[in-house]
Symmetry: D3
Subunit: 157 residues, 6 copies
Amino acid sequence: MPKLTHFDDAGRAAMVDVSAKDETERVAVARGRVVMAPETLALIQSGSAAKGDVLGVARLAGIMAAKRTSDLIPLCHPLMLSKVTVDLTPALPDAVEIEALVKLKGRTGVEMEALTAVTVAALTVYDMVKAVDRGMRIEGVRLVHKSGGKSGTYEAE
Amino acid sequence: MPKLTHFDDAGRAAMVDVSAKDETERVAVARGRVVMAPETLALIQSGSAAKGDVLGVARLAGIMAAKRTSDLIPLCHPLMLSKVTVDLTPALPDAVEIEALVKLKGRTGVEMEALTAVTVAALTVYDMVKAVDRGMRIEGVRLVHKSGGKSGTYEAE
Amino acid sequence: MPKLTHFDDAGRAAMVDVSAKDETERVAVARGRVVMAPETLALIQSGSAAKGDVLGVARLAGIMAAKRTSDLIPLCHPLMLSKVTVDLTPALPDAVEIEALVKLKGRTGVEMEALTAVTVAALTVYDMVKAVDRGMRIEGVRLVHKSGGKSGTYEAE
Amino acid sequence: MPKLTHFDDAGRAAMVDVSAKDETERVAVARGRVVMAPETLALIQSGSAAKGDVLGVARLAGIMAAKRTSDLIPLCHPLMLSKVTVDLTPALPDAVEIEALVKLKGRTGVEMEALTAVTVAALTVYDMVKAVDRGMRIEGVRLVHKSGGKSGTYEAE
Amino acid sequence: MPKLTHFDDAGRAAMVDVSAKDETERVAVARGRVVMAPETLALIQSGSAAKGDVLGVARLAGIMAAKRTSDLIPLCHPLMLSKVTVDLTPALPDAVEIEALVKLKGRTGVEMEALTAVTVAALTVYDMVKAVDRGMRIEGVRLVHKSGGKSGTYEAE
Amino acid sequence: MPKLTHFDDAGRAAMVDVSAKDETERVAVARGRVVMAPETLALIQSGSAAKGDVLGVARLAGIMAAKRTSDLIPLCHPLMLSKVTVDLTPALPDAVEIEALVKLKGRTGVEMEALTAVTVAALTVYDMVKAVDRGMRIEGVRLVHKSGGKSGTYEAE
């Protein structure tokens, strides 16, 4: 059975040693979506034009959250991210698609940073629209690309 | 068309005034799940017994994240939460179900705190197991119960 | 000579006792501005329409910073703010005017929260435009209104 | 018209890619001042000797804030600062002058860190003295020196 | 055998419900000390006068840390502290004694806040003097007084 | 008399310049213990098996706190830690021994990170057991090993 890297042989959680890893350029891309009523999406889209930029606020929240990842995820290493982008795209009739890209020149991958950016952007969409639609759901949050480091490139789709 | 409460008439984002709201007991329950390969779930379950407590670490991360919600979600009010619980349950054959309950005696609801606890617990599960299964997905994150405050009780399912 | 409230008789800094103060509604309004080259302001204004919303990003940064005030200012009390708004207005030919309003139902004033919101919004404007204008200056950051609490209402202008 | 670097072609905010930049020694110096009533300055000066060290507390707050810059300014990169100094000097008859110097061996400039140190030190002076002088103003916060990196050395005065 | 309050019947950690507790005035006092070489203490004492105020910096660090307690201690409730004082006193020949007092009008005790203030103040003393004395030890950190709340008053010594 | 490195010649606190230091592998190990009633230790040990994992929660709190060190200790540099482990071991009849190891490839030592991990783990043990034993004490927190950097290797015991 494979071993979980975040535990030692006695099963104790640890922040694992990455000092022997190469400092390479690492990229991760994650995606997810917020599913909502079609009228909620229409409201968000009308707002993007003039009456309140839900997607702009969520983008910023996602970017800022990527920088907080090691504060939130107990065994993540603190990292000096070189780049973070978060895109939110209306997907008719009833969803907002979210994609985050994170880049680092460093010793460990940035999947968690990309996934954190996606989920916090999704939570922010939820927060800003919840007064009109409590039934929204965050779905399909997953890693879609990862490159750099010893484990090579991963493509999910 | 309904109005988004987090924007003023000119479409500017704001942290809305809750000072006129009653201080009542407010509860929110959110749920979500991490879907994974059946072998990954088996690994997590074996670990819970002795070799590394993935679910215990994720529970703690979720509780701590609930307290950080107003740092992460731009327009959330800072709150003095009275109670936070996070439960993670293996759901055979291929998922971990997560439920968070948050309670407050205060002037605004705690949905975002419950949803934040669920997503950060889910991200932590992902982090701890990602070395053996990069294809995991976070699915179905939603509010299932909310009570207290003027808008009354909401039950999703 | 008046005494500084943040020090005890021996000159030691302390977070002073506010437990005997009344829980009243407290409001503070602060203002400041970023002075820049006229072309820089033109660039910001063109961006607000379509190519990058400097003022929207700065507004959000100011709101979030208000919530972090007690983390930044050593002797400030942690507070559960009820409302925060930050407005940024182009002031032709060469400035962005910033005004922040903070409201609290609590035992201590919120001047520092309003001033922190203004300065962090100003710093964010600087950050986003610094590549084209390093000579910008933050000027005139001050309290313009304060009400609630024993010391009564203060109006600066 | 010049382009704002913090936005992509569609006007979406992003934390821009610095991974291709050289790792050089970068220095930034920022200045600002708190203008106050002459009696307020006298009070601060008497305190520095024995009864409460306003300037010492503000210096520390400024240094600590420099380390929090990427938490506060949405699109700033997290950085491992190598040096931070903050000096506060009484400027008779009615001001405290503040200067911050920040140094980094890294891929991006540290202007925002120096400016953040100055403004938080200024806010801390305000906080500690506000009970005796609500009319204080923070003025003239600007970058005075910047070196390292592709854009070369900048001297403001 | 008594039950640990931070775990439910299945042994799962939780932030326990305090919403039914009374909002009373709660006080906690904690103490501890940093033991060092006599020459190190002499150095600190000389510095307090003019050459660098170790105890003043440590006092401030302790006060600020009290406000961060719920970020650090996983199951602590976020609290709006009403008062925090930290005193550091040279204890000849070879120690600095630290005492922190924390006060709250609220639903849960503030022991952890007082203990956190003492330990972070102690760590800060260590940090500032470690270049001349690596053998310092933090000793005797304990609660000495607690009042308010259902469990009544506790006096340790 | 030796000079304290965290102050300049005028006695002003500063975050000292480490940019000229070599980037080497640095390790620090710190230890401490929580002394308690024998029945309290028995309770913790029984819990570790099934009814609530005090030591597991404290381990995680210690690891997360190591990452927050530069937020807590005013003049500590922000660092990208490569490894953090925290071990808590029951020491019959009446103590829990704590050891933290921190590793970094960087320009400054990690003693403060190791000491912070030990103290926050100790505080967390206290928090989780305080309802049954208010008389616990944190004792003997000290550096036991340090290597890397110009000052060479230090062994305390």
